[in-house]
Amino acid sequence: MPDAPTPRLVYDAFLITAYHDFYKPAVAPRVIGLALGAALLAELVFSGHLAVRPHEGKDFVLAEKRGGPPRDSLGLWLSELVQGEPASLAVPEWLEYLAISDTQTKTAEHMVVAGLMIRGEQRSRWLGKVQTTYDAADALIAQAPLARLRRYLSSMDRRMPLLDAFLLALTESVGLSKSLYSQMPSGAREYAEGHLRVLPAPLQAIRGHLTAAVADTAITGNL
């Protein structure tokens, strides 16, 4: 798998899950954390820095020794964390950890540096508390990932790249199927399913655990 110099998948996952516009709402905060965690894991698996291997009914995340370290700070942070663990942890544990580690802010800050987001401050009217906000530098760029997926689904004339197929799976897993498939021609779901079915096993595992974690959130309310 080729190296990924910038965390493109995690940016796209951020814009799809955390950015809201007229066409698409942002998902629940915990689900954003889970989705960004899944995207970051998938990206590092794709770039060959991490591996997901099944063992005794669990899918473990392992550091891959080949190649240099990830070139971006987000990827480096996670890959060093994985390497620093005394024993391998399973995908659900990493998703849980990434969801509580404020991956959303880390990703947003990364996107500020990349010029994709603009950091701002908002003072609450009653408490006077200052909150950091992140807005897209360009609304069209913010809408681009979902628009790209929808373009694939509407034309169905070419094969989706692997990362976009995973992004599609992630979009479905967080509950944004309606935004994805609304007004799509018949056969779009079958076209998507055809891509999702052939995702490599590690990405399938991340996708499955993300779907399960989102469903768990719906049941327990992350209490």
Binding site: P25, A26, V27, A28, R30, V31, H55, E56, F60, L81, G84, E85, P86, A87, S88, L89, E93, W94, E96, Y97, I100, S101, V174, G175, L176, K178, S179, R197, A201, Q204, G208, H209, T211, A212, V214, A215, D216, T217, A218, I219, T220, G221, N222, L223
Partner: protein
């Protein structure tokens, strides 16, 4: 790949985020609404049963559920989707009985939740009539139905906060009323209510069935098994503490009512006045406390409706995720991640029943709250009993390092106790419904549940033959897609139809 070390940075961060016994206790107790059980259930039990053995009934049920909890929480440590009893049945007795149990469970929870609108309408009608607002019961029921429907589509944590505030106030008021009852004893504190002869004859089954309903919610700590600080101890402690706390509240408050009214007078007093609890408070503490109690009863029934709405929605959601029923029930709200489709389905069911009962002019207390509520009680007792059998079978195959007490002795004792409760409830069901022995209605309810179970089993059989990947995910709830994906990967394309 060895077991993760507790010294790891990630594990330490995850451990800090885990839930302790008190947190789990908070969630399970918010599923219980003691004022509704005492004011709506206990007083009616005195009237229906014509006996004073209600506190003894609670002692028996609490002991049975404590025994059940031992094996139940032990098995919860070894299975996914541990919040739903049908999942225990699926893993213990097989997937087909699991689907049968799921259908009975979903129907029972749904009926119990809908029945509360009848009592809610009745309580609100009386309360608002006293301030000059005279509206039919169904108008108040529809307002509450709308409120519960809206809150049900919000995230679970918002509901939990609302329920926690209501619970705290409720428990405080129940304790104040109970202390006042003991302080104003009619004939001194009597222990006659705990005599075995105080709970006998054809009413015993009715009392026990109603007592079980009061504890529903005790099973919820297992839902949070994976978030618990110590999966082995935390969930078991919270479940057992829930049963003990609820038992304490129910036993003390029902005993206090007997003490205040007198052993010989309480049945007549309850028959004459279903609001006996508040009437006693009014006499002893003043009319303000009586009004406070009535207002809190209204909020308590609303909280009960909301709590059971969430439980039912969670059940339907898990079944939708497994594709055991309509898969659209597994949809979540994008913004709140609440199980919005399952919640809306439950809301529609509630609305239809309220409208139907209003159009037919049926009584909200007798025909809705009482008939539907007690009928659901039979279904829930059957569910607990089947779940208990599933625990025995599960550990009979492999004890999985659990103690003999947790894996063998306690589950067997619990099944014997619950089988006794089930038997008495079914043969005394006419007493529970207040109809003649041999009439159609008491026979109809067990038949309906049996038919539901058969239909569920039939559906399970169909899934086994026609959709093996869906069948593989039965009982796994939120994790069903993982199991289904693994099954799909294991089965070559086209092979499914050959099975």
């Amino acid at each position: 790949m060895s077991a993760p070390s507790p010294a790891s940075a990630v594990q330490s961060a995850l451990a800090r985020d885990k839930l302790g016994t008190l947190s789990l206790l908070h969630f399970s107790l918010t599923a219980a609404t003691p004022l509704t059980v005492i004011a709506g259930g206990v007083v009616v039990m005195f009237a229906v049963a014509g006996q004073i053995g209600i506190p003894l009934g609670y002692v028996i049920i609490a002991a049975s559920l404590l025994l059940f909890s031992v094996g139940y929480t032990a098995m919860a440590r070894h299975i996914a989707n541990a919040g739903a009893m049908y999942a225990f049945v699926a893993r213990g007795l097989g997937r087909i009985p699991g689907v049968a149990a799921a259908w009975v469970a979903a129907t029972s929870y749904c009926a119990l939740q809908v029945s509360l609108y009848g009592y809610l309408g009745y309580v609100a009608q009386g309360l608002f009539a006293s301030i000059g607002l005279d509206l039919p019961w169904w108008a108040f029921a529809l307002v509450a139905w709308l409120l519960v429907g809206l809150l049900g589509t919000r995230a679970v944590d918002i509901n939990a906060k609302v329920l926690a505030v209501l619970l705290t106030v409720e428990v405080a008021v129940v304790l104040v009323f109970s202390v006042s009852n003991f302080a104003n004893a009619a004939d001194g504190v009597s222990f006659g209510a705990f005599s075995p002869t105080a709970l006998s004859g054809e009413a015993a089954g009715a009392v026990l069935a109603l007592a079980v309903i009061g504890f529903i919610g005790f099973e919820s700590p297992t839902v949070y098994g994976e978030e618990a600080r110590d999966r082995k101890r935390t969930v078991a402690r919270a479940t057992i503490a829930t049963v003990l706390i609820l038992a304490f509240i129910y036993i003390v408050s029902s005993w206090s009512i007997i003490t205040a009214a007198g052993d010989d007078n309480v049945v007549a007093a309850a028959t004459a006045d279903f609001d006996l609890m508040f009437s006693l408070a009014g006499d002893q503490l003043g009319p303000v406390w009586e009004t406070v109690g009535r207002i809190l009863l209204l909020t308590s029934v609303t909280a009960a409706a909301l709590s059971f709405h969430n439980t039912t929605a969670r059940y339907l959601f898990a079944l939708g995720r497994e594709q055991v029923v309509f898969s659209w029930l597994g949809r979540t709200s994008v913004r709140t991640c609440a199980p919005v489709a399952a919640s809306a389905t439950q809301t529609v069911a509630g609305g239809l029943v309220i409208v139907l009962w209003a159009v037919l002019g049926l009584d909200p207390v007798v025909h809705l709250f009482y008939y539907l509520g007690t009928a659901s009680g039979i279904g829930l007792i059957a569910l607990i009993l089947t779940c208990g059998i599933a625990v025995i079978v599960y550990f009979a195959r492999d004890r999985r390092d659990e103690s003999a007490w947790a894996a063998r002795i306690a589950p067997v004792l619990a099944v014997l106790a619950m089988a006794g409760v089930m038997y008495l409830s079914v043969i005394h069901f006419h007493t529970l419904l207040g109809v003649e022995k041999g009439s159609l209605l008491p026979k109809l309810v067990p038949i309906v549940f049996a038919v539901l179970a058969l239909l569920g089993a039939g559906w399970g059989l169909f899934l086994k033959r026609a959709r093996p990947e869906v069948y593989a995910g039965i009982g796994h709830g939120a994790k069903a897609p993982l199991v289904q994906a693994a099954e799909r990967a294991a089965v070559p394309v086209g092979a499914a139809s050959e099975r």
